[in-house]
C-alpha cells in the first residue's frame, strides 16, 4: 500500500516518512485509475514504469453507504450524486513537475508540535461524541490480513461490516434505519471471493477492497503484481490497495493515485500524526494546483475510539469537512470497530460492556 517505509526505530522511520510524504506532494504524473467505468471494467493498471501509490478503485456506484440517504447522515448523497462526484474527483494526473517537490519545506519540530496539539484540541463529549463515533464507523475499511484467514472469519467480518453496531444501540440513538455500515471490507486477494460471496448473501453492496501487488513488501515482479490485481478484480474486488515500488520512489520516479495511505499497517511504526499532517497538506496543495481530490487512508495502530476521533478532527482541521466522506477518507483498522461499539454501548446504557455483550467480528 501507499509507501512502506524502511523503518527500524521511530527516529529513522520519521525521517523516511518525511521524505516520502514530501514526495507525495508532487501528486505524480503517472496513469492510475479510479475506474469509473462501471462494474466489471478492468482497473486501469499501474504505470508502465512502476506501480501506483495507494489505491486504485473502481466505481462503487454509490455503494458504500447503501441506504444511507435522506440527508440526515452527513455522507448521505443519493447514488447518482456519488457517482458524479467519484467521476469529477477522479485523479486524471498531471505532468510530473519535480519543482513542486523541491519547493516543499517541512519543518519537523513544528509539525510534531502541531500533531501534539491536534490530539488534545477537540474534546467532543456525550451525544456529540456518539455521533462522531458513528461517523467514524462509516470510514472504516474493516480489515483482516492474517495468514490464517479462512472463509469463516471473512464471512464473520463481512457480517460485522454490514451490522457494525448492535441494532438495539442504534435504535436507542434513533439511527437504526440509516443503514449504517463500514466503508468497505479489506482482505487478501485470495479471500476476495469469500468476501464478495458473504456480502452478497447478507444482501449488502459494501465494496470489497483488496491489498494486492505483493503485499506488504511490494518486492515482487511487475508482471506478477499486475496479474495479482487482475485476479483480485476478476474475483469482485472494487478497490485495490497497491504497495508502491519504493525503489522507484527513492530514485525519484513518482506515480499518482486516488488515495494515499500512511503505510501498510504491517510496519513497526504505522499511522502517526506528524506523517499524516504532511501528507494531508500535500493532498490540499495538490487539490489547489490541479482540482483533484486525493483520498487519505491511515492504517495500522488505530485501535481506540479516542484515536479515531483524533483522526477525524485532524482531517477536519487540515482538509475540512468536504474530506470527511468515505470517498476521500478511510481508516484501515481491525479492532477499532469493537472499541467504538463499546463506547456507544456505554453512551447508551451508562455501563461498561462485558466482552460477551458485543458480537465479535
Amino acid at each position: 500500500m501507499g509507501g512502506r517505509i524502511p523503518t527500524r526505530g521511530s527516529r529513522r522511520g520519521q525521517r523516511a516518512r518525511g521524505q516520502r510524504a514530501r514526495g507525495q506532494r508532487a501528486g505524480g504524473g503517472g496513469q492510475r485509475a479510479r475506474g469509473a467505468e462501471g462494474p466489471g471494467a478492468e482497473v486501469a493498471g499501474p504505470a508502465p514504469r512502476g506501480t501506483g501509490a495507494g489505491r486504485a478503485r473502481r466505481s462503487r456506484g454509490g455503494g458504500t453507504q447503501e441506504g444511507l440517504g435522506g440527508g440526515e447522515l452527513g455522507v448521505e448523497e443519493p447514488a447518482t450524486a456519488a457517482v458524479a462526484r467519484a467521476m469529477s474527483a477522479r485523479n486524471l494526473g498531471t505532468e510530473l513537475d519535480l519543482s513542486w517537490i523541491s519547493k516543499i519545506q517541512v519543518n519537523q519540530p513544528a509539525v510534531l508540535r502541531r500533531a501534539e496539539q491536534i490530539q488534545a484540541r477537540r474534546m467532543v463529549k456525550k451525544e456529540w461524541q456518539a455521533a462522531w463515533l458513528l461517523k467514524a464507523v462509516t470510514f472504516i475499511d474493516l480489515t483482516t490480513l492474517s495468514g490464517d484467514d479462512t472463509s469463516s472469519n471473512v464471512q464473520r467480518l463481512c457480517y460485522k461490516a454490514k451490522y457494525p453496531i448492535r441494532e438495539d444501540l442504534l435504535k436507542a440513538l434513533n439511527v437504526h434505519d440509516k443503514g449504517l455500515t463500514t466503508a468497505a471490507v479489506c482482505v487478501y486477494p485470495a479471500r476476495v471471493c469469500d468476501a464478495v460471496k458473504a456480502l452478497k448473501a447478507a444482501g449488502s453492496t459494501i465494496p470489497v477492497a483488496s491489498v494486492a501487488t505483493g503485499f506488504p513488501a511490494g518486492q515482487t515482479h511487475l508482471k506478477t503484481r499486475l496479474e495479482e490485481i487482475r485476479l483480485a478484480v476478476e474475483d469482485g474486488a472494487t478497490e485495490i490497495d497497491v504497495v508502491i515500488n519504493r525503489t522507484l520512489v527513492l530514485t525519484g520516479q513518482w506515480e499518482g493515485s486516488d488515495f494515499i495511505k500512511t503505510s501498510t499497517g504491517k510496519e513497526t511504526v504505522n499511522a502517526t500524526f506528524p506523517v499524516a499532517i504532511v501528507m494531508l497538506r500535500a493532498i490540499r496543495d495538490f487539490f489547489w494546483k490541479t482540482g483533484n481530490k486525493i483520498g487519505f487512508k491511515p492504517a495500522g495502530g488505530i485501535r481506540s475510539a479516542k484515536d479515531s476521533l483524533a483522526w477525524l478532527s485532524l482531517i477536519k482541521e487540515e482538509l475540512g469537512d468536504e474530506w470527511l466522506t468515505p470517498e476521500l477518507f478511510r481508516i484501515g483498522a481491525s479492532t477499532l470497530l469493537s472499541d467504538i461499539e463499546r463506547q456507544i454501548y456505554h453512551h447508551v446504557t451508562g455501563r461498561y460492556a462485558a466482552y460477551h455483550d458485543l458480537p465479535m467480528s
Binding site: Q108, P109, A110, V124, W128, A131, K135, L312
Partner: protein
C-alpha cells in the same frame, strides 16, 4: 441525533464546571483579600461584581481594597519576610515543592475557575497553564535549593509588590511570584477585582500552613499601585499591563522607595520568509493570535514572493477556527469580556477607515463579547494603526521584500517583546534572530515557554524579566546593599529641573601660570568646541583655577548621541576578543601616564597614595572587564525541546552615564569599562568637580578607540542629565548624582521607558570590588535575549 455535516460543523462539548462554582460558594460568593494566611473581608468597602465574561452572570462580589488593606497586606509580608528570607534555601525549596503538589491536587478546580471567570478556552488552561505553573514551582524550588551556592553574594530584596492588569492571567503571576519566593522575598499581589484565581492560589499556599504571609493577594484597581509602592518595606514593584499605564506608574513612582520593573504590552511579531514551511508558519500565527495562548495580537511580516500563497492558507485556516464559551472543550478561542471585544472592534474599524482590508472568518458566535479571528492587510505604512498596538485576536499582515527590509520594519516599532522567524534556511533564520531587537525569538515556532528560559523585552515592552537566571536577579540585590528608602522630594519641579543653562561669567583673576587652552567636548573621536561657545572653570581643592572645560548643552548631547549611534554597529560586530584588546590597550595607556593622572587627582586634594591606588585600580578595571567581555551569554537546555535555547547578552545600544563626583577617575573607568565590554556605545558626563582626569583619558581614547564610540560631555550636570534623560534615542541611563537628579531621571525615563540605574544621592564605594566591579554592573550593562532553536529533520 444527527450524524453528518451538521455535527461536524458544530461540536459543542460542554464542560462541567460545578467545582469552580462550589468553591465560590465556600466564600458565600463574597470574595475578600487573602492576607497573612487567612481571608480578610473588611466591612464597608465598595464591591465590584466578578462576572462570567460571556453570560454576564454575577458570580461573586469582590471588595475593592483601600489603603489600610494594602498596608495590612504589606505588614503581613514584612513580618513574614524576617523569617522567610533567613531560611536555608532547602526549606524554601521544600515549601515550593509542596505548593506544586497542592496545585496538582486541585488542578481541576483551578482550571474550571480560571476558564469560568476569564472566558479563556479551558483546554489551554488545563493543558498548558496548570502544568506550567507546576513546572515553575518545581524549577524554582531547585533554584532555591542551590541558592547559597549559585547565587552567593546576592540577597533577597524584601517585600515585592506585584500589580497585574486585567488582561494578564494567573500564570503571569506565577512567573513572578515563583522566583521572588524562591530567593527569599515575600509578595503582595494587587489583582484587579473579579479575578479569583490568584486568590485561590494564595489560599492554597496559605493552607500549607507553615509560612502565612509570604503570599498575599488583594483586590483593587491599579490606581492603588502607588500606595502599594510607597508602603515602608516594599523594595520592588513589578507591573504587568498596558504601555500607557506603565508610563504613568513610572512617573508616579519617581523617587519612591521601591524599584520598578515593567512588563508592558502583549503584541507579538512573526516574520515569515519565502524559505518557510508555510503551513507550519500558519499554525504559528494561530498560536500567536487566534488561540487562547497569547494575550495580545500579532504583527505578521510576509515575504512578497509568498504573500498570495500565505494569505490563501491563512484564510483557509481561519475558516476552521472555532470560538465559543471557554468551558466548551472544543473551542479554539474563548472570549475575554466586553472590554477586550470593544478594543478589538475599535482597532478594526479604525484600520478599515484608514484603508485596510479586513478579513474575518471562523465559527464564532456573532454577538459580543465574541470576536472572530481577524486578518488585517494593506494597512498603509504611515497610518496610525500601524504604530498602535495590535489587540487580540487581530493579525496585521504586511509584506517585505528582503530579510534586511524585514529587520528594518520589525525594529521600527517601539515594541520589543517577542518574535518568531520562519525560515528553513539556517543562516537567514539566525541573521534575523540575532538582528531583531526583542526579548525572545523563536525560530520556526511561536509562543514556547519554559521556566528555565528568561522572558522579557526591551524598548517600550519594559525591561523586567521572568524565568531563568534573569528572573531570579529581578528580586536580588548584591549583599550588603542598604535597603531602598524613599528619597522623594515633593517640590521637585520636573518642568524646570536642569532647564536653565547656567551663565558662565568670569570668575576672577587667573592666578599662577596661565592654564592650558580650554578642554573641548570629546565627541565623534575628537575634541570639539561646545555649541554654546562658553567654558566653565574648574577649581582645584585650594580654590584656585585649574582649567577651563567646555560648557556642553542640548545640541552637544544631540551630537554625541548621534555619533554614538553611528559607532555602535561597528562596535557590536567586533568580536569580544577585539573589544578586550582595545580595553587592555587603554589600560596600558593609563598606566603609562600614571604620573599625569596622579598629579591631576592630587590637585583636587586626593592624597598621593590614594591617587596612585585610584589610577592603578582604574587600569585594572579596564582589564578585568576586557577579560569578561569574552564570557557572555550561555546555552540553556530545555527538557521538552530538542535543540538549544541561547541566552544571548546583547548591548543596550547607546548608554548614557552620568558619573559620580567621587572617585573621578576610578568611577569613570569602572562604568566605561563595563559598558564597552558589553558592546555599548557611550555618552558620559564626567565628575562635575573634577572632570580633568576623564578628559585626559579621552586623549588616549582618541587614538585607540573607534570614533564616536565614547563621547564625553562636560558642563552643568543637571542640564546635561535633563537632556539625556529626555532623549528618546538613548537606550539606557545610569545616573550617579543627587537624590533630586535621580528622581528626575526616573520620571523622565517614562518617555521611551529606557532602563535607568540611579544612586539616589548615595555614594558608592567604587574602590570595593563588589560595588565598583561586581556582577551588578555586568547585569545592567547588557540585555538578555532568548533565542529558541528547535531542531529536527
Amino acid at each position: 441525533m444527527r450524524i453528518g455535516h451538521d455535527l461536524t460543523v458544530r461540536v459543542p462539548a460542554p464542560y462541567e464546571e460545578p467545582v469552580g462554582r462550589a468553591w465560590l460558594d465556600t466564600q458565600d460568593r463574597h470574595l475578600g483579600h487573602y492576607v497573612n494566611g487567612k481571608w480578610l473581608k473588611p466591612e464597608h468597602r465598595n464591591s465590584v461584581p466578578c462576572r462570567d465574561p460571556i453570560t454576564g452572570e454575577n458570580l461573586a462580589s469582590c471588595p475593592q481594597a483601600q489603603a489600610e488593606d494594602v498596608a495590612a497586606a504589606v505588614e503581613a509580608a514584612r513580618t513574614a519576610w524576617e523569617n522567610w528570607s533567613g531560611l536555608p534555601g532547602a526549606s524554601r525549596a521544600q515549601y515550593l515543592t509542596r505548593l506544586a503538589k497542592m496545585i496538582q491536587k486541585h488542578q481541576r478546580l483551578l482550571w474550571t475557575l480560571e476558564s469560568l471567570v476569564t472566558g479563556r478556552a479551558v483546554r489551554e488552561v488545563r493543558d498548558r497553564d496548570i502544568p506550567l505553573a507546576q513546572q515553575l514551582l518545581q524549577w524554582h524550588a531547585v533554584q532555591a535549593y542551590t541558592q547559597e551556592e549559585t547565587l552567593a553574594g546576592w540577597e533577597p530584596m524584601g517585600v515585592i509588590g506585584l500589580i497585574l492588569s486585567p488582561t494578564f492571567s494567573f500564570l503571569e503571576m506565577m512567573w513572578r511570584i515563583c522566583p521572588a519566593l524562591a530567593v527569599g522575598c515575600t509578595v503582595v499581589v494587587l489583582v484587579p477585582p473579579g479575578s479569583p484565581t490568584p486568590l485561590l492560589l494564595a489560599q492554597l499556599a496559605g493552607e500549607l500552613g507553615s509560612f502565612p504571609g509570604i503570599l498575599n493577594v488583594i483586590n483593587g484597581p491599579a490606581s492603588l499601585g502607588p500606595i502599594l509602592a510607597s508602603q515602608p518595606g516594599v523594595q520592588k514593584v513589578t507591573f504587568c499591563g498596558a504601555v500607557e499605564e506603565g508610563r504613568v506608574l513610572r512617573r508616579t513612582l519617581a523617587g519612591q522607595g521601591a524599584e520598578l520593573g515593567l512588563a508592558l504590552g502583549a503584541e507579538s511579531l512573526l516574520v515569515l520568509t519565502e524559505a518557510a514551511d508555510v503551513d507550519s508558519a500558519v499554525e504559528g500565527v494561530v498560536d500567536a493570535a487566534w488561540s487562547d495562548r497569547s494575550a495580545g495580537g500579532l504583527r505578521l511580516l510576509i515575504q512578497e514572493s509568498v504573500w498570495d500563497e500565505t494569505m490563501r492558507r491563512l484564510q483557509e485556516r481561519m475558516a476552521r477556527l472555532r470560538g465559543g464559551r471557554g468551558l466548551d472543550g472544543a473551542v479554539d478561542m474563548g472570549a475575554r469580556g466586553a472590554a477586550a471585544h470593544d478594543l478589538a472592534q475599535r482597532y478594526v474599524r479604525e484600520a478599515q477607515s484608514q484603508g485596510a482590508q479586513v478579513f474575518q472568518a471562523g465559527d464564532v458566535p456573532s454577538v459580543s463579547p465574541f470576536f472572530p479571528p481577524t486578518l488585517v492587510s494593506d494597512l498603509p505604512p504611515a497610518s496610525p494603526c500601524t504604530q498602535a498596538e495590535v489587540p487580540w485576536p487581530v493579525v496585521v499582515a504586511s509584506p517585505f521584500r528582503t530579510a534586511k527590509e524585514a529587520l528594518a520594519v520589525a525594529n521600527g516599532t517601539p515594541r520589543g517583546g517577542s518574535a518568531s522567524v520562519w525560515s528553513e534556511r539556517l543562516g537567514q533564520a539566525l541573521e534575523l534572530g540575532y538582528g531583531l531587537r526583542v526579548g525572545t525569538v523563536w525560530i520556526n515556532a511561536h509562543g514556547l515557554r519554559h521556566p528555565e528560559v528568561p522572558t522579557g523585552g526591551c524598548k517600550e515592552s519594559g525591561s523586567s524579566w521572568h524565568g531563568g537566571p534573569d528572573g531570579l536577579y529581578e528580586y536580588l540585590r548584591p549583599s550588603g546593599t542598604p535597603a531602598r528608602l524613599p528619597s522623594l522630594s515633593e517640590n521637585l519641579n520636573y518642568d524646570t529641573f536642569g532647564l536653565a543653562v547656567p551663565l558662565t561669567l568670569p570668575s576672577g583673576p587667573e592666578i599662577g601660570p596661565s592654564p592650558a587652552a580650554p578642554y573641548g567636548l570629546f565627541i565623534g573621536g575628537r575634541f570639539q568646541a561646545p555649541g554654546a561657545r562658553s567654558s566653565r572653570c574648574i577649581q582645584d581643592s585650594k580654590g584656585n583655577l585649574q582649567a577651563y572645560v567646555a560648557e556642553g548643552g542640548a545640541k552637544d548631547i544631540r551630537g554625541a548621541v548621534e555619533a554614538a549611534h553611528q559607532a555602535a554597529p561597528g562596535w557590536v560586530s567586533q568580536p569580544p576578543g577585539a573589544r578586550a584588546s582595545l580595553l587592555w590597550a587603554l589600560a596600558s595607556a593609563l598606566e603609562r601616564r600614571e604620573s599625569a593622572f596622579t598629579s591631576a587627582l592630587e590637585r583636587h586634594g586626593v592624597e598621593l597614595k590614594t591617587a596612585k591606588v585610584e589610577v592603578e585600580l582604574s587600569a585594572r578595571r579596564l582589564r578585568a572587564w576586557g577579560a569578561r567581555a569574552q564570557a557572555q551569554g550561555h546555552l540553556l537546555q530545555v527538557a521538552e525541546l530538542r535543540g538549544p535555547v541561547l541566552r544571548l547578552r546583547e548591548p543596550l545600544g547607546v548608554l548614557a552615564i552620568v558619573c559620580p563626583d567621587e572617585w573621578p577617575l576610578l568611577a569613570f573607568a569602572s562604568l566605561l569599562a563595563a559598558a564597552l565590554a558589553h558592546g555599548n556605545a557611550v555618552v558620559l558626563v564626567p565628575s562635575g568637580v573634577c572632570p580633568i582626569p576623564a578628559l585626559e583619558v579621552c586623549q588616549d581614547m582618541a587614538t585607540l578607540l573607534p570614533a564616536g564610540l565614547v563621547n564625553v560631555v562636560t558642563g552643568d550636570r543637571d542640564h546635561l542629565t535633563r537632556c539625556l534623560a529626555l532623549h528618546q534615542d538613548v537606550q539606557a541611563l545610569w545616573y550617579f548624582g543627587s537624590a533630586q537628579g535621580s528622581q528626575f531621571v526616573e520620571w523622565a525615563s517614562a518617555g521611551n521607558l529606557k532602563p535607568v540605574w540611579v544612586n539616589r544621592g548615595r555614594p558608592r564605594a567604587w574602590d570595593q570590588e563588589a560595588q565598583g566591579a561586581g556582577p551588578e554592573l555586568g547585569l545592567r550593562a547588557a540585555r538578555t535575549k532568548a533565542l529558541w532553536l528547535p531542531m529536527g529533520d
